[in-house]
């Protein structure tokens, strides 16, 4: 190392939006001002996954892990750590240092194993050299010069890698179909249209390690005989788009994309295509239609894209996370990879922990890790000491996992057997304050909104389901409604054209299965125990307790609280939108929720 210290500053979207750039600039300024800019190298990195505690700064070689760092802390980091070699205690995650000061010692990282996210938070994603320095493009070199196509496919098949986009199809088998298809032209596509609410691992991978995706796609191109690749990425991800564009330009400059890659006779290039706000374009046939310049509507499969895809040509389409696994499998071998995970699901899976959990963020764990380990050991348990209610996985195609299943080792099959789905890896943790009917309504609203409308079961069935749930949430449901929901669910599963419609009823079936009592409470008693269904609750001010401090009236966004100063206040129930701001604001427990 040429420098005595390396200061890694997170430049992921979350940290950037919480003053990450200002922090970087402040550090740069301080290093100069204090005359040590030759001793420490500043590096912008991708997301550390611990955005909850961002902005994050990590200092090498001693691996000090500083959290919630503000630009004002820059001066101290430089004067104390860089110049005097003393850690800035108040910025450490674990301030009493009972468990050490490096990232590895933090419980959030301890049970994790990083294959997909190996470079995120380690390298500067804007410089190809840093990727190369960590064995980047070595797998591509190996594939071009030392392996046959069949060997590559066998390696992936033996590794047991399955698609991370949701369906879990064996990647090696898919590549085999395309390789064996006869055609004058073939294509490689990366699905970066990540749209599941609660999932953002693909964004983070593209932002933090874009070259891993490019390298893997190029490997696929060489293996199946394609010379053109497309990355379809959603327009909602501006930073990821910028990093990918930059990475493509650098790879071309280095001769790792374009004609005669690494001096061989193999040529391959990659273009970006942006989504335009349609979730259904994540479905592979819709995505391909969108690249072709058409409406993003799914078409029946078979034929599968692997044999008849883009412009009717054989096309390998994989998810970002699937791609990011591949260079490591090629380098370290299938035996290594398949030693991680469970019988049917190998390797690791990235999950996005969100909701009522202490350490939200991106985590990567070996398949087979239990939900309990994820939520309690890594996630630090439920926020504000509340009670765990359920975890939702698989997004709008998935379902809920309850307390009694917390010890299930997670893989594709086990999740399915308990009525949920692996999906793309979003994991939304709910506590006792969340209403199961309300949550389910959210997913239905989402699928109704995103249905492309091509086939009736999804278009009409989804809408009908939503209306029934809405009725239940307003206390107007009937017991028979639950049967109607179940019947409709069966019909949608059987008759919908694509995965969106087929799986849209999953959240309903799963929640009715586990929480029928809560549905019944809404229906029979008009009661929402979590206090989330607005029509079944109200806020009122208790006259005796109100001292007339006016705090509530000032926060009410619709100005529906009236009263003189020092006199009891009143809420106009007709105007109240039940936002709960007054409830949170009142210091005198004078507002009753119920």
């Amino acid at each position: 190392m040429a420098f005595k210290n390396y200061i890694l500053v997170c430049a992921g979207t979350a940290c950037e939006s919480s003053k990450g750039i200002a922090l970087y600039e402040a550090l740069e300024k301080e290093l100069k001002a204090q005359g040590v800019d030759a001793e420490a190298q500043l590096v912008k990195t991708g997301c550390f996954g611990f955005c909850e505690q961002g902005p994050i700064v990590k200092i090498l070689p001693d691996e000090s892990f500083y959290v919630k760092v503000s630009p004002e802390d820059a001066s101290k980091i430089v004067s104390e750590h860089i110049i005097k070699g003393r850690q800035v205690k108040e910025l450490l995650y674990d301030q009493d240092q009972s468990s050490g000061t490096s990232a590895d010692s933090i419980d959030f990282y301890q049970k994790q194993q990083r294959i997909v996210l190996r470079n995120c938070g380690v390298i500067n994603p804007e410089y190809i050299d840093e990727y190369i320095a960590r064995e980047g493009y070595a797998a591509l070199e190996k594939v071009i010069f030392d392996m046959t196509s069949d060997e590559v496919i066998k390696e992936l098949t033996d590794a047991g890698l399955r698609g991370r986009g949701g369906a879990g199809f064996p990647t090696g088998v898919k590549w085999g179909f395309t390789k064996n298809a006869q055609s004058d032209q073939k294509f490689i596509v990366c699905n970066a249209d990540e749209g599941d609410p609660g999932a953002y691992m693909d964004r983070s991978t593209c932002e933090g390690d874009p070259h891993s995706v490019l390298e893997a796609m190029t490997i696929a191109g060489h293996t199946v005989g394609a010379d053109q690749g497309f990355i379809y990425i959603r327009a909602e991800y501006p930073l990821a788009i910028e990093r990918l564009e930059n990475a493509i330009a650098q790879a071309r400059e280095y001769g790792l994309l374009g004609d005669n890659i690494l001096g061989s006779d193999f040529s391959f290039d990659i273009e970006l295509r942006l989504g335009a706000g349609a979730f259904v374009c994540g479905e592979e046939t819709a995505l391909l239609a969108s690249i072709e310049g058409k409406r993003g509507m799914p078409i029946p499969r078979p034929p599968f894209p692997a044999v008849k895809g883009l412009w009717g040509k054989p096309t390998v389409i994989n998810n970002v996370e699937t791609w990011a696994n591949i260079p490591m499998i090629i380098l370290k071998g299938s035996a290594w990879y398949s030693s991680i995970g469970t019988e049917t699901s190998k390797g690791t899976k990235v999950f996005a922990l969100t909701g009522k959990i202490n350490n939200s963020g991106l985590i990567e764990v070996p398949m087979g890790t239990t939900l309990r380990e994820i939520i309690y050991d890594i996630g630090g348990g439920i926020r504000s000491g509340k009670k765990f209610k359920a975890a939702q996985t698989g997004g709008p195609s998935g379902g809920v996992i309850t307390e009694e299943y917390l010890d299930t080792p997670i893989d594709y099959e086990s999740l399915q057997s308990i009525g949920s789905m692996m999906g793309s890896g979003g994991m939304i943790v709910m506590d006792e304050d969340d209403c199961i009917v309300d949550v389910t309504k959210f997913y239905l609203e989402f699928t109704v909104d995103e249905s492309c409308g091509k086939c009736a079961p999804c278009r009409i069935g989804g809408r009908t389901n939503y209306n029934i749930l809405d009725k239940i949430s307003r206390g107007q449901g009937k017991v028979e409604d639950l049967d109607t929901l179940k019947d409709l669910a069966q019909a949608m599963r059987k008759a919908s054209l694509c995965g969106l419609g087929q799986t849209a009823p999953n959240p309903i079936m799963s929640t009715i299965n586990f929480f029928e009592d809560e549905y019944m409470e809404h229906i029979n008693e008009g009661k929402c125990r979590a206090g989330k269904c607005k029509d079944l609750m109200s806020y009122t001010i208790i006259e005796d307790k109100c001292i007339g401090c006016t705090a509530c009236a000032r926060v009410c966004p619709v100005n529906c609280i009236s009263g003189e100063v020092k006199a009891p206040h009143v809420i106009d129930q007709d105007q109240c939108i039940k936002c709960g701001q007054c409830f949170t604001k009142c210091k005198f427990d004078a507002i009753l929720k119920g």
Binding site: T13, S17, A278, Y443
Partner: protein, 180 residues
Amino acid sequence: MLISEREQLRANIERRVIDFGNNRSALIPVIQEVQQKYGHVSEYVMQVLADVLHIHPVEVYGVASFYSFIGHKPKGRFIIRLCRTLPCEMKGKERVARQLENDLGIHFGETTDDGNFTLEWANCLGMCDQGPALLVNERIYTQVTPQSVHDILEECREVFGVHTTLQEKEMSCELPTSAK
């Protein structure tokens, strides 16, 4: 639009279609550029695209109307898209929504009379652990609170103040010159 401006626009579109491979696949990228530049895709633009790509204008309309980020009516200079999906809901997006509506005096799906702001819903912006999240044109804001809504809107208004004349000029200017 003046005739000369129309001619200019047509020429630009033709050039960009060629940049994107001169086939149907160029349709969406070019529409997206027009959308970004002008805030909407006009009938004239659709007609030009249909001519250049030798397809029926209804095909172009069909594509443009399918995608929620593409509109054929003019929208505000700042399109504010608030995430409405579950994790952001759990972090209190409803209050942010009310604050936005109050401050701007419009409902979701509407544009302010001065043409500066359009308010829309988005489905998950991929910042779910940092919610509530919103997107203003291409800038992401996270952990938005009713209080910070005010600052965000002020920031937009400042940018807008500085760039008014520039924007006006841009209306007749070119699409990006660099290929892709």
